[in-house]
C-alpha cells in the first residue's frame, strides 16, 4: 500500500509517499500563484493508493481532488513521531506560520498554539530580513553564527523590523551582528510559544526554518536541551499526512 501525503504550504508544496512505514518518495515544489496547478504538476506520474492533504491549501485540494484532509497541527505531530518516536513536543516554523504542539505519550495532540494573524517570526520574516541584509538564506544563518555580538531587534512586525534593520545598517552596524539579533528575536518568540504549551520532553523542530543551523543552535541554547531535527524537516507535515492517510484505510 502506497500512501501519499501532500502539504500545501504558503511557500512550498511538499509531497511524501510512505510504503510499509518507510518513505518511498519525496517531492517538493514552490507553491506559486496557483497552488492547485502546482499540486497537479507535483502529482504527475506518481503512483499511490490513497492521498491526504494538509497545509493552508488543504481545503481547495479537498474540493479539487476529492481527498480527505487534516490540519497541519495533526500532520506535524504524526510526522515528528515518525522520525522521533519519543517526541512529545513539536515546534514547527513554516513559511507563514509557526506552531507549538504538545502530545501525550501515545502521540495524540493535547495542546497547541499558533502565531496570530501576521507572519511575524516565521520563515517569511527571516527571508525578508536576509534579503534586506543582502544575504541568501544559507549565508544568513552561517554569517549569523559568526557574529561577535548580537544586536537587539525590537520589532517583530516584518515591516517595522525591516526599517529597523535599514537604520542599523545606516548606522554602520556589522550585518552579521544584525543577522544574529534577528535570529534571536524569532527564537525568543518561538521558545515562549513552546513553553506555553509544554515544559518537558524531547522537542522536535520541524518546518522549513528548522533547516536554519543558527535557529537550531539558538533554540538549543534557549531551551537548554538538545533539539531533534529530521534530515529534511520541511517534509515533516507531508510525511505525517501520508501516515495518517494510511491509518484511515488501515494500510
Amino acid at each position: 500500500m502506497r500512501c501519499a501525503g501532500i502539504d500545501i504550504g504558503s511557500r512550498a508544496i511538499k509531497l511524501a509517499v510512505v510504503q510499509n512505514k518507510a518513505i518511498a518518495e519525496y517531492r517538493q515544489t514552490d507553491t506559486g500563484y496557483d497552488p492547485m496547478a502546482a499540486a497537479r504538476r507535483l502529482l504527475e506520474g506518481l503512483f499511490y493508493d490513497c492521498i491526504l492533504a494538509t497545509g493552508y491549501g488543504r481545503g481547495q485540494f479537498e474540493v479539487d481532488f476529492d481527498a480527505p484532509t487534516v490540519t497541519e497541527i495533526k500532520a506535524h505531530a504524526a510526522g515528528a513521531r515518525f522520525f522521533f518516536p519519543e517526541a512529545v513536543t513539536v515546534l514547527d516554523i513554516g513559511g507563514q506560520d509557526s506552531k507549538a504542539i504538545a502530545m501525550n505519550t501515545v502521540g495524540k495532540v493535547v495542546k497547541f498554539e499558533m502565531n496570530d494573524r501576521c507572519a511575524a517570526g516565521t520563515g517569511k520574516f527571516l527571508e525578508i530580513m536576509a534579503r534586506s541584509l543582502g544575504f541568501n538564506l544559507e549565508q544568513f544563518a552561517s554569517e549569523a553564527l559568526l557574529a561577535e555580538k548580537d544586536i537587539q531587534i525590537n520589532s517583530m512586525c516584518t515591516v517595522f523590523a525591516e526599517s529597523e534593520v535599514t537604520s542599523l545598517v545606516a548606522r554602520g552596524e556589522n550585518r552579521r551582528n544584525i543577522a544574529l539579533g534577528l535570529h534571536k528575536s524569532v527564537v525568543r518568540r518561538a521558545a515562549g510559544m513552546l513553553r506555553r504549551v509544554s515544559n518537558d520532553g524531547p522537542v522536535v523542530f520541524s518546518g522549513g526554518v528548522a533547516k536554519n543551523r543558527c535557529m537550531q543552535r539558538l533554540m538549543e541554547d534557549t531551551l537548554q536541551q538538545p533539539i531533534l531535527t529530521a534530515k529534511d524537516p520541511q517534509m515533516t507535515g507531508a510525511i505525517g499526512a501520508a501516515l495518517l492517510a494510511g491509518d484511515r484505510i488501515g494500510g
Binding site: 493552508y56 481545503g59 487534516v70 490540519t71 497541519e72 497541527i73 495533526k74 506560520d97 495524540k108 495532540v109 493535547v110 495542546k111 497547541f112 499558533m114 496570530d116 494573524r117
Partner: protein, 425 residues
C-alpha cells in the same frame, strides 16, 4: 427588502446608499452562513423572515408603536432591565453592534485599539445605518467595561437622548445597593419619558412577559443537551440574538414552536449533525448580529455548538425574576436580585462565571470549550487565561481565540478550530 421601506429609512435620516450596501452584505452573509445549513428545523423559517425584515417590517412596527404613543428604548447591554421599560409602556430593543462600518470615521473619534463591538456602535451611528438607534426615544449606555464607559462620553454629543446607567464592579452589599439605586433612577427616567407611573400590576405583568421569553430560551437550551443535537449552534445563537429585537410575545411563541418541533426530533433521535459529533461550548464575549464568524467556522469544521456562555446566550438569559412581591419596591428588589447574578467579566473577582462554564460543560455534555475574546476587550481576555487554566486542570480541553469582526483571519482561525476538533475526536 421592498421599496416601501425607503421613505421610512429616509425619514429616520439613514444614509440610503450606505444602508443598501449594509443590507446587501448582510443578506449575502445570511445566505452563505444560515441558509447553507442542512437539516434546519422548520420553525427557523420564522427567524429567516425576521432577519429578512430586520430593518424593514420590525422598524415599521416600532414606528407604528411610536405613532400610537409608545416609546422606544435602545440598549447595548443585558444589564438594562427590559422589565422596567415594558412596565413603563416602552419597547426595548438591542442596538446594532455586530459589524464593522464606517471604520475611518470611527477612528477619528475612538482609538484604533478599541474593541470591534464599541467601534461598531459608533460605525452604525456615524454611517447612519442603524434604524433602531434612529428610532429610539432613549438610548441607554451603561458603565460596564472601561471601553464602553469612556465611549459613551463620546457618543453623548452624537445623539440627543443618551442616558447613562452606572453598574457596580463588585458583588458586594454596596454593589447591590448601587445597582438598586441605578434601577430606581432608570425607572424614574422611563416614567418621565413615557408619562406612565409604574405600579405593581404593570411591573408584575412586564416581569412575566420577560420571564416567559427567558423560559422559552431555557427550554430551547435544554433540548440542545441531546445527542445528536437537534439544532445547530448557529440557529440557536440567532434565536438568542433576535431575543433583543423582536416583539417579546411573538418571540416567545416562535421559540416555543421550534421547541415543539425539536422535542419530536429528540424523541426520534434526529439531529442536525450525526450523533457523536464533537460538542463545543462557546464562552466569552457577546456575539451581536451579524457576528457569526466563529460559530460558522466551528460548525463547518466538524463540530456542533451546544451552548453559549455569553450575554447573547445563557449568561444573559439565565435566572428568572421572582414574581412573589406585591409592591413596586418588592418587585424592584426581585429585579435587582436577578440582574445582580449576571457574571459579566467586568466584576472582580468573578468566580461565578467559571463555575457556570463548568456547569454548562456538564449539562450540555460538551467535549471542549472555545473561549471567544474580542481583540482589545480587556475584561474577557484577562479572564480567559485563568478560565482556560482552570478548565484544563479539570481535563476540559479549551481553545482561546482572540479575534474581531473582520474576515481576514478566517483561514488561520479555521486551522486552529479544526486542530482543536481533531484533538477532541
Amino acid at each position: 427588502m421592498s421599496e416601501d421601506y425607503r421613505s421610512m429609512w429616509q425619514s429616520l435620516g439613514l444614509d440610503l446608499v450606505a444602508h443598501d450596501a449594509l443590507l446587501g452584505v448582510l443578506g449575502k452573509f445570511y445566505q452563505d452562513i444560515y441558509l447553507a445549513q442542512n437539516n434546519r428545523p422548520e420553525g427557523m423559517g420564522y427567524f429567516d423572515f425576521v432577519m429578512s425584515e430586520v430593518h424593514g417590517l420590525r422598524i415599521k412596527e416600532l414606528l407604528d408603536e411610536k405613532k400610537a404613543g409608545r416609546k422606544i428604548i435602545g440598549t447595548y447591554c443585558v444589564f438594562v432591565p427590559e422589565e422596567i421599560a415594558l412596565a413603563g409602556n416602552a419597547t426595548m430593543v438591542g442596538l446594532c453592534a455586530g459589524a464593522d462600518f464606517a471604520t475611518e470615521e470611527v477612528e477619528k473619534i475612538l482609538p484604533r485599539n478599541t474593541c470591534a463591538l464599541i467601534k461598531s456602535t459608533f460605525g452604525f451611528k456615524l454611517g447612519k445605518v442603524c434604524p433602531y438607534l434612529e428610532a429610539s426615544d432613549m438610548i441607554v449606555g451603561e458603565n460596564t467595561c472601561d471601553g464602553k464607559k469612556k465611549a459613551y462620553e463620546s457618543l453623548g454629543p452624537l445623539v440627543s437622548n443618551l442616558y447613562v446607567m452606572d453598574i457596580p464592579q463588585m458583588k458586594s452589599d454596596q454593589g447591590r445597593a448601587l445597582l438598586k439605586a441605578e434601577y430606581q433612577r432608570f425607572k424614574q427616567a422611563v416614567e418621565k419619558l413615557t408619562g406612565v407611573t409604574i405600579d405593581p400590576p404593570r411591573l408584575k405583568a412586564a416581569i412575566e412577559t420577560v420571564n416567559n421569553k427567558r423560559k422559552a430560551i431555557h427550554r430551547l437550551s435544554k433540548l440542545r443537551q441531546a445527542d445528536p443535537a437537534p439544532i445547530s449552534g448557529l440557529d440557536a445563537l440567532l434565536a438568542n440574538q433576535v431575543f433583543f429585537y423582536d416583539n417579546p410575545q411573538r418571540f416567545t411563541d416562535s421559540v416555543n414552536k421550534i421547541c415543539d418541533e425539536l422535542e419530536k426530533r429528540v424523541a426520534e433521535k434526529q439531529g442536525v449533525f450525526p450523533s457523536g459529533t464533537p460538542r463545543i461550548l462557546m464562552s466569552g464575549c457577546p456575539m451581536a448580529v451579524p457576528n457569526w464568524k466563529l460559530p460558522w467556522i466551528v460548525e463547518t469544521s466538524g463540530a456542533v455548538i451546544v451552548g453559549e456562555e455569553s450575554c447573547v446566550g445563557e449568561r444573559g438569559t439565565r435566572n428568572l425574576v421572582s414574581t412573589s412581591g406585591n409592591t413596586v419596591d418588592e418587585l424592584m428588589d426581585a429585579i435587582v436580585d436577578r440582574y445582580f447574578q449576571v457574571d459579566c467579566a467586568i466584576f472582580t473577582p468573578n468566580p461565578d462565571r467559571l463555575n457556570h462554564v463548568e456547569e454548562m460543560v456538564k449539562a450540555y455534555k460538551a467535549d471542549g470549550v472555545i473561549h471567544y475574546g474580542l481583540q482589545f476587550c480587556a475584561p474577557y481576555l484577562m479572564e480567559s487565561i485563568p478560565v482556560a487554566k482552570a478548565l484544563e486542570e479539570k481535563k476540559i480541553p479549551t481553545l482561546r481565540i482572540e479575534t474581531d469582526y473582520s474576515m481576514e483571519d478566517v483561514g488561520q482561525l479555521k486551522t486552529r478550530v479544526e486542530a482543536f476538533i481533531e484533538m477532541l475526536r
